[in-house]
């Protein structure tokens, strides 16, 4: 019995999961309180939940099992709960109707459970743990996406996410089953992979079944990150889901997806496998190049014609995922790429940096959307009209976040987008034909300028309409947006001024 257990799955210690347990505990307490202490104002739950998840985030950085993705997941979850904190007016109207806050408590507690799932995922070393923790994230997200039961869009989003998500889970499980069948274990490890492929690498043929399992696992991960061809759910779900949930899906869930993808590719990073010229390495690079190219095109070109800000950010999240996928072309970065620590590194570090820049900018953008929705009743880009006149300071903060998403220099978005270009240049050293990706990246990055600037245009070029009052910026929104803007600028400027040879 014991043998089978060790054979099938990796060994873990309890300490690895302490942060996750804390979050589950807090969530349980909040859910109980929601049921039994009716008098407590629901916004208190939001504060408790956000604080606890942010504190756990600090713990994951300082603790023994430091993991950058855990920190990012906690940060993203905490901030998306804060979005919900400033969104109560809409939440109440869409959940219980009117101004009653009944039934909104779970809305603040459930993200904690999802975040616990992500924390487990970042520790996972075998497919069982990956699957279980991923399901924790996904199931909670289904509930959150459809949580506004009086809102048709939210219900539609919930159903779509459920159906498509279930399909992708099925694919992932199928992949896991094939993996077990081909390797005899669930452990993700380069030794396992090398053993399975031994002999076949040199002869140029690879066990088809193994490749199929890897392909299916990748497809499951592509669903979470929103990469083509598994991206179709994103625009509809992002647009329909409650804005705090959209925030969670856009940042925390994407972090989970990339943590998963990194876990899946790490076994292939062995020097034996990822060297250029071998069959497996070529195949991996080709797959990632094609997926990245398609994702870039679909996300960025699709975003060009959007008029709804949330849908725009949905396509943008696909497009940004495309830029991150380019990092995966360099599983073994060539030496010359190591000259600048800000532009190169192992794939998981680069991915983390990109996700951090993306998270900071996207969260700020969603805070703005939530604020505009609460006070102007619309999520269209045109609802941002005239903010440059009525709220110059807020408008500036929004400019910073969208400029960073577009990759305007001196913001962090530029640094990471450049790292993505840089990764391609690096990959071209070994696979010259990848040059076809360069025009696609140039084109899509330029397209980004066009559609992200649509918001900036609405704020500065459009005049406020006669009934438009200045937005009243809630305290929490103001704090988070300012912090995000400062972080984006500082992290984008300082390396440029100091760090290059």
């Amino acid at each position: 019995m014991n043998d089978i257990a060790t054979y099938c799955s990796a060994t873990y210690t309890w300490a690895q999961f302490t942060p996750a347990f804390i979050l589950i505990g807090v969530a349980a307490v909040l859910l109980m309180a929601d049921t039994f202490i009716k008098a407590l104002p629901k916004r208190a739950y939001a504060v408790t939940a956000a604080l606890s998840v942010l504190l756990v985030g600090c713990y994951t950085v300082s603790g023994e099992h430091t993991n950058a993705y855990s920190f990012l997941a906690c940060l993203a979850t905490g901030l998306s709960i804060l979005v919900a904190y400033d969104y109560t007016k809409v939440s109440c109207a869409s959940i219980a109707g009117g101004t009653s806050d009944e039934g909104t408590g779970e809305f603040y507690a459930l993200p904690l459970v999802a975040c616990a799932g992500i924390l487990c995922l970042t520790q996972a070393a075998d497919l069982i743990m990956i699957f279980v923790s991923l399901e924790v994230v996904t199931l909670t997200s289904y509930v959150l996406a459809g949580y506004f039961r009086r809102n048709q869009g939210s219900i539609e989003a919930g159903i779509k996410y459920l159906v498509l998500g279930a399909m992708s889970t099925g694919i992932l499980v199928f992949g896991a089953a094939w993996y077990f069948g081909m390797t005899g274990t669930f452990i993700l490890d380069s030794d396992v992979v090398i053993k399975t492929l031994s002999g076949s690498v040199a002869s140029g043929t690879v066990a088809i079944g193994f490749l199929m399992s890897v392909a299916l696992l990748f497809l499951g991960a592509f669903f979470k990150v929103g990469a083509a061809p598994m991206h179709v759910w994103i625009p509809d779900v992002y647009q329909g889901a409650p804005t705090p949930t959209t925030t969670f899906l856009a940042v925390a869930s994407k972090t989970a997806g990339f943590a998963l993808l990194c876990a899946l590719v790490v076994p292939f990073r062995s020097k034996l496998l990822a060297i250029p010229g071998t069959h497996v390495a070529d195949m991996l690079v080709n797959v990632f190049a094609v997926v990245a190219g398609a994702t870039l095109l679909i996300g960025n070109l699709g975003a060009l014609f959007q008029s709804n800000a949330k849908r725009l950010l949905g396509y943008s999240s696909i497009g940004q995922a495309g830029f991150i996928l380019v990092f995966f072309l360099n599983l073994n970065p060539p030496d010359f790429l190591k000259i600048s620590e800000h532009l190169s590194g192992p794939v998981e570090v680069l991915t983390y940096k990109y996700l951090l820049a993306y998270t900071l900018a996207t969260v700020a953008a969603f805070f703005a959307i939530a604020m505009v929705r609460t006070q102007r009743g619309s999520e269209e880009i045109s609802a941002f009209r005239g903010l440059g006149k009525t709220n110059p300071r807020t408008a500036f903060l929004i400019v910073v976040s969208f400029a960073s998403l577009a990759g305007v220099p001196l913001t962090m978005g530029f640094m990471v987008k450049m790292a993505s270009f840089f990764a391609l240049v690096g990959a071209m050293q070994s696979w010259t034909y990848l040059v076809w990706l360069l025009p696609i990246m140039i084109l899509t990055a330029t397209a980004g300028f066009y559609y992200y600037f649509k918001i900036i245009r609405a704020m500065y070029w459009e005049k406020p309409q006669s009934g438009d009052k200045p937005l009243c910026v809630p305290f929490c929104t103001a704090c988070v947006m300012t912090a995000c803007a400062i972080a984006l600028i500082v992290l984008g400027t300082w390396p440029l001024l100091t760090a290059f040879k």
Binding site: I339, L410, F414, F500
Partner: protein
């Protein structure tokens, strides 16, 4: 210390935007402080290059990669400082809100331009320029003349795409040379050249070229300048646009005598394109009926001469010091002149409320000083001796013949790029290649025939012969514009003119002063260039 040249405008912009301090006043103060600091820094680095290195580029013990040691840094920073001050003094915003936005944008543009010209780090150099594009975009879209939104979008798409091409080129260059600063590039040239010089140079020329409005990538520029509010047009056309040329020259200088290996294969094509700027855009300029359109096009046209200097540098394998000097002087002079012209355009518009050349007339009788200042700037733009542009243009013309002997470098006409294209096209199926080959061969033999008629002139010299015609074209449109606006009968629009304000006179006079100063004594600029 140098970092303050960027922090001051940014802080001033923040004060105006966040604390609602009076826009123009804050901007003028910031610009004046910057000018004093900047001139101080420039003098300091001329007088004591070694000791200034430490104090100029260190902040709290951390070394910041700013420098005034690059060949054109000082001169371009000086240009940016002068134009910023003039633009802020001469600002005529329609209302308080607009004045705030204009001030903020001017300051940010200025910060971006100065940052780019001081950066030793190639990526920061690129980044600061991009930063300056945002205020340009917003200002044209908000306060521009005419069909401002589509103009702003066109400019943004052109510049955005060009920036991406440029970034690709710079990244390839930096990775292949294993150097991320201009200084490091210079040292690493000794140990080797990039492995794909032709591709890199192509990307750089298209990228930088679009930003400088090199023919045929120039169509965004004239409408954008014509549409932009005066301070933005001044700063963009006068200062920021020089970024592309600055980049090309700085890279050429870093590659020293090997710059021919990098850019050489594109030189003949570049010569054709710059003739497009001078002649094609020149004639387009002649046909303009509005003053702002005319100036926008004229600015595009004059870029051709600076590109000519670049081509001369490349053709002479980097030894052409005269061409560097001519280009530096002309960049400064053109920046001052076009800024002054756009400034005066704003003043003319506020007096007459029109910029249609046909509906104006006799303005000099109402406002003789305005006529004099416009005349001065116009003459400078044509290249009248004793005004700054002449010094630059003349030096460039002479430099085209530097190190040239009769017949020694006769145009072999078919350039490397053409040969390259022919080989490439021959590989194409369906016989298309043959057609192109035939066309290119035709062009090549045509050019050789022309070259032989001119007694063995080289490609650069031949181009110069055609480019000189541009002087006549400039004279035609500028003198005609002057006559239409200031001479002849007093038009009904000129009747509206009242008087110039003190700020109008000071701002234009300030620029005029330097145009004359550098025209009479261009040698003052020599210490500002760090050339061997």
């Amino acid at each position: 210390m140098l970092i303050w040249l960027i922090l001051i405008p940014v802080i001033a912009a923040a004060l105006i935007g966040l604390l609602r301090t009076p826009g123009r006043l804050t901007a003028i103060t910031a610009a004046a402080v910057m000018l004093v600091l900047g001139v101080g820094a420039i003098l300091c680095s001329i007088l004591c290059p070694e000791c200034s290195k430490a104090c100029l580029s260190t902040v709290c013990g951390t070394k910041i990669q700013f420098t005034l040691g690059l060949p054109f840094s000082k001169i371009m920073v000086l240009l940016a400082l002068l134009v910023t001050l003039a633009a802020t003094i001469g600002m005529k915003a329609p209302n308080k809100d607009a004045e705030r936005s204009w001030s903020i944008s001017s300051l940010l543009l200025s910060a971006g331009a100065i940052g780019a010209f001081m950066s030793d780090n190639i990526i920061a150099f690129y980044g600061f320029h991009e930063l300056a594009l945002i205020p340009t975009f917003i200002m044209i879209g908000c306060y521009g003349r005419g069909d401002r939104r589509s103009i702003a979008w066109t400019a943004t798409v052109y510049l955005g795409l060009a920036s991406m091409v440029l970034l690709a080129g710079l990244l390839l260059l930096c990775t292949q040379m294993n150097a991320w600063t201009f200084t490091a590039l210079k040292t690493s040239v000794a140990s080797g050249m990039p492995s794909t010089p032709c591709l890199i140079a192509g990307l750089l020329i298209v990228g930088f070229g679009t930003l400088v409005s090199l023919f045929p990538f120039h169509t965004w520029a004239a409408p954008a300048y014509a549409s932009a509010p005066a301070p933005i047009a001044m700063l963009h056309a006068g200062v920021l646009k020089k970024f592309g040329l600055y980049g090309l020259f700085t890279l050429a200088e870093a590659f020293g005598s090997r710059c021919g290996e990098l850019f050489g294969s594109w030189n003949n094509l570049l010569l054709l394109l710059l003739l497009g700027n001078i002649l094609w855009v020149g004639y387009v300029t002649v046909s303009q009926t509005r003053l702002d359109d005319m100036l926008g096009n004229s600015s595009v046209m004059h870029m051709g001469y600076i590109f000519l200097a670049f081509a001369a540098v490349i053709a002479d394998k980097g030894n052409n010091i005269l061409a560097y000097q001519g280009a530096a002087v002309l960049m400064l002079a053109h920046g001052l002149t076009i800024a002054m012209l756009f400034l005066l355009t704003g003043q003319i518009e506020s007096q007459t409320r029109t910029l249609e050349l046909d509906s104006m007339g006799g303005l000099a009788r109402k406002l003789p000083l305005l006529g004099f200042l416009f005349g001065l700037a116009g003459m400078a733009s044509i290249g009248l001796p004793l005004l700054a542009n002449f010094a630059g243009e003349y030096t460039i013309f002479v430099s085209c013949f530097a190190n040239w002997k009769t017949g020694a470098t006769a145009a072999t006409a078919g350039c490397d790029v053409l040969t390259c294209c022919i080989n490439w096209l021959n590989a194409l199926p369906w016989g298309i290649g043959c057609v192109f080959t035939w066309m290119f061969n035709g062009i090549s033999s045509g050019l050789s025939a022309i070259a032989s008629v001119f007694g063995g002139l080289g490609a650069v010299q031949l181009t110069l012969v055609f480019a000189l015609w541009g002087l006549v074209i400039s004279a035609i449109y500028m003198l005609r514009a002057f006559r239409n606006i200031f001479e002849s009968e007093i038009g009904h629009t000129s009747e509206r003119a009242t008087k110039l304000s003190c700020a109008d006179i000071i701002s234009a006079g300030f620029l005029a002063l330097f145009i004359v100063l550098f025209g009479i004594a261009p040698q003052l600029l020599k210490p500002l260039m760090n050339l061997i």
